[in-house]
């Protein structure tokens, strides 16, 4: 139990996927201009991460022990087709939810945080429940970083900023400061 909690907090704060591993930066810098869309994208990503964790565990346990060199190709194909499948499923079952998620679902396929999650979980040899908790922590951590940046960006739109620094440059510097703040969590656990 302690172990699971540790994995969750480590993925959520100490080793935040966006701010310390630099994963999923494209949506982080691209879609983070409003709080609402970031929260939705975060929720969609967390969901896909959970599904990916289950798929990765199944692949690792039953398929890839026979052919480890196919790991990468298997993961990417499975992730891409799972996202496609979930997209169709949601479209059929709940058109309202599908409209709310909009273009975010297909975009998630190219999010390196998802593939990164599968690879990290494999490298550390996580089991089924550990994998799920890890995915939950990583997804929520991604959402947290996205929402934080979106909040700051919404605020900054109302203030006058020199033309020189507007755009990606400013977002990167904000992200740098956020990342520095998250480094403070590194002291939470002594066994890292």
């Amino acid at each position: 139990m302690d172990n699971l909690l540790w994995i969750f907090i480590s993925a959520l704060l100490v080793n935040n996927f966006v701010l310390t591993y630099f994963l999923g930066l494209c949506p982080f810098l691209g879609v983070s201009n409003s709080l609402e869309t970031s929260a939705r994208l975060g929720a969609a990503t967390t969901f896909v991460m959970l599904v990916t964790a289950v798929c990765a565990w199944i692949l690792n346990t039953y398929v890839l022990i026979h052919a480890p060199y196919l790991r990468l190709i298997c993961f990417i194909v499975v992730i891409a087709s799972t996202v496609q499948f979930i997209e169709m499923l949601i479209k059929k079952l709940s058109p309202a939810l599908f409209r709310a998620m909009g273009i975010f679902l297909p975009l998630i396929t190219t999010n390196c945080a998802i593939l990164g999650l599968a690879i990290f979980a494999t490298n550390r040899g996580y089991g089924f429940w550990e994998g799920i908790v890890y995915a939950l922590g990583a997804g929520l951590g991604f959402t947290l970083a996205l929402v934080l940046l979106a909040g700051l960006r919404e605020e900054s739109e109302l203030s006058s900023i020199p033309k020189l620094i507007q755009g990606t440059a400013m977002n990167l510097i904000i992200a740098g400061i956020l990342s520095m703040a998250f480094m403070g969590f590194a002291g939470l656990f002594s066994t890292t």
Binding site: L23, V77, I119
Partner: protein, 214 residues
């Protein structure tokens, strides 16, 4: 004629459409592995190999790949090359491979590579596609190397592992930690913004001068 055309494709990727500084693509590996110049070069070489190889294959097969499943085909081709690069690095330079860790397999998810297949290689003949891939990869390498060099010099007082400043240098450790990556790239992009603003101003002045003359 042919020569200048492929030269154009090459130079476009290195400077005018630089994938990192201008298009802001491929940020994840860009920031994650640039805490030393050696890592930056290894990552750059791996990306170069994958990009050129997959551009060549995609462009050769562009008439046989059905439109509906093209993205999956591209991804499988890219993943194959990444697996080759992964195992090659593991065999040749195990130390660097260990430091880059999971970021070698993550080249698959580098949006720069998929973007070039979709936008360029699947539409143009092999020669141009390979030149374009070489240019883009060199531009990416240039960006990686400049970021890696700045971070290693500031954060470690060294370049390629050679100490530059002697004993009394106090390393600015934050630069080789994650925040340093964000900050350095932010500052480099500031320079690019400044350059672009100056250029726009200059072009405007020229246009005004021409208007007043006529």
């Amino acid at each position: 004629m042919k020569e200048t055309e492929s030269y154009e494709e090459f130079i476009k990727g290195v400077w005018r459409d630089n994938p990192v500084f201008v298009q802001v693509l491929g940020m994840c590996p860009m920031l994650a592995v640039t805490n030393s110049a050696v890592n930056a070069i290894a990552m750059g070489m791996a990306t170069l190999f994958v990009l050129v190889g997959s551009s060549f294959l995609v462009s050769s097969f562009r008439n046989w790949i059905p439109k509906q499943v093209r993205i999956s085909c591209f991804i499988i081709i890219i993943a194959t090359f990444v697996t080759i690069a992964d195992y090659t690095l593991l065999a040749l330079v195990p130390k660097v491979h260990k430091e880059l860790g999971a970021f070698i397999p993550l080249i698959v998810a580098n949006c720069l590579i998929l973007g070039r297949q979709e936008a360029f290689a699947s539409r143009y003949p092999t020669r141009l596609a390979v030149m374009d891939a070489l240019g883009m990869a060199s531009g990416f390498m240039l960006a990686l190397l400049s970021l890696g060099a700045v971070r290693e010099i500031l954060g470690d007082g060294a370049l390629f592992g050679v100490k530059l400043f002697g004993e009394n240098f106090e390393p600015w450790v934050i630069m080789i930690l994650p925040p340093g990556g964000f900050l350095t790239l932010g500052v480099i992009l500031l320079f690019f913004n400044w350059f672009k603003l100056k250029k726009d101003e200059f072009l405007q002045e020229v246009a005004e001068a021409e208007r007043s003359e006529s």
